[in-house]
């Protein structure tokens, strides 16, 4: 059981802190001959698989490296377009490494503000009066837990669906935030948190929560 990552979003929807605690590495490298039996396409400055799942390569996986050399966005290391490069039979056999694309810091900012508005809509569309926004969002591979403080700061933790004790963790993170970010004289409110003590204490809180989760302590 693991905790994947932590996000802190200010009351305007801006991401002020993000920490990846555990990033699973699911990458597959495979050698292909011409023609390629996968359909690739450009998506968000990346080349992703759009059709043809096989040998652990899934739809949505991005091309990470070709012949052992990391790609740069949608271009190969020497600046050629990946799709053009793979169209040329003389480049085969070719070894391609696929995996889930890592989020860039810009994408993280975008996703944080996206959650900010989803949170608000979740509360507006409520069939019951006086509902909060989204507190927990569940998928088959992770659960996202969100705690909004009275001042509007959101603490978001993404964890394994079976991980327990997340409510306590969210309150602990709030405490760590109050103690180490807010009391830091160099920190201005609503701005990104760059504070070593906050980092350290957050990490130890995550470690404690991960250990406690294994015993199924009440959440």
């Amino acid at each position: 059981m693991v905790i994947y990552s932590v996000y802190v979003v200010n009351k305007a929807g801006g991401l002020i802190y993000q920490y990846d605690n555990y990033v699973p590495r699911a990458e597959v490298e495979k050698t292909f001959s011409y023609p390629l039996d996968l359909v690739l396409k450009h998506h968000d400055e990346k080349v992703v698989v759009s059709f043809g799942q096989r040998d652990g390569i899934r739809v949505g996986h991005a091309v990470l490296s070709i012949n052992g050399v990391d790609v740069i966005g949608k271009n190969t290391s020497d600046g050629k377009d990946i799709l053009e490069y793979l169209k040329d039979p003389s480049n085969y056999p070719v070894s391609i490494r696929f995996g889930r694309a890592r989020l860039s810091s810009n994408e993280k900012l975008m996703l944080a503000s996206m959650f900010h508005s989803l949170f608000a809509i979740g509360s507006q569309l409520s069939p019951e009066a006086g509902s909060s926004g989204i507190e927990m969002l569940e998928t088959d591979v992770f659960k996202l837990h969100c705690f909004q403080t009275l001042t509007g700061i959101k603490f978001i933790v993404m964890a394994d669906p079976r991980q327990s004790g997340i409510d306590a963790l969210l309150r602990k993170i709030y405490e760590v935030y109050s103690d180490f970010a807010l009391k830091n004289p160099f920190y201005s409110l609503e701005m990104p948190i760059r504070c070593e003590l906050f980092d350290q204490n957050l990490k130890s809180a995550l470690e404690v929560a991960e250990k406690a989760g294994n015993f199924g302590a009440g959440s």
Binding site: Y22, G60, L111, E128, M136, E138, T139, D140
Partner: protein, 141 residues
Amino acid sequence: MTVHNLYIFDRNGNCLYYNEWNRKKQAGISKEEEFKLMYGMLFSIRSFVSKMSPLDMKEGFLSFQTSKYRLHYYETPSGLKFVLNTDLSVTNARDTLQHIYNFLSLSSLCKNKIRFKTLYLFSNSVDSCVRQEYNLTQSGC
């Protein structure tokens, strides 16, 4: 246990069916606008979840909960979207939604020759299906 309301959307975002059983608060906008907002939220959640996920997903988005209600989501491979709002005591409504889908698609959609896009589902058959699943009485819950 309370069921608040049920939305069924087709893959283009048209609301095929809406019914409410025990809804205490309206959204404060017209139904048309509410369907758009709901569909837009689901669409965004789907894209949000697929980007945020650290691993490859099979089912994707299943449900979310706030302090007062829980929204259950089920999407068929053909893009029909079922959204059921209940109170927090209902932990998993996937089977119910699948049941409604089976029941509906067989009984009224597939056998119907009218174009799917403009079809409004037969209200009373869905209503009785949900009432059966959750033992709702006529007066609400």
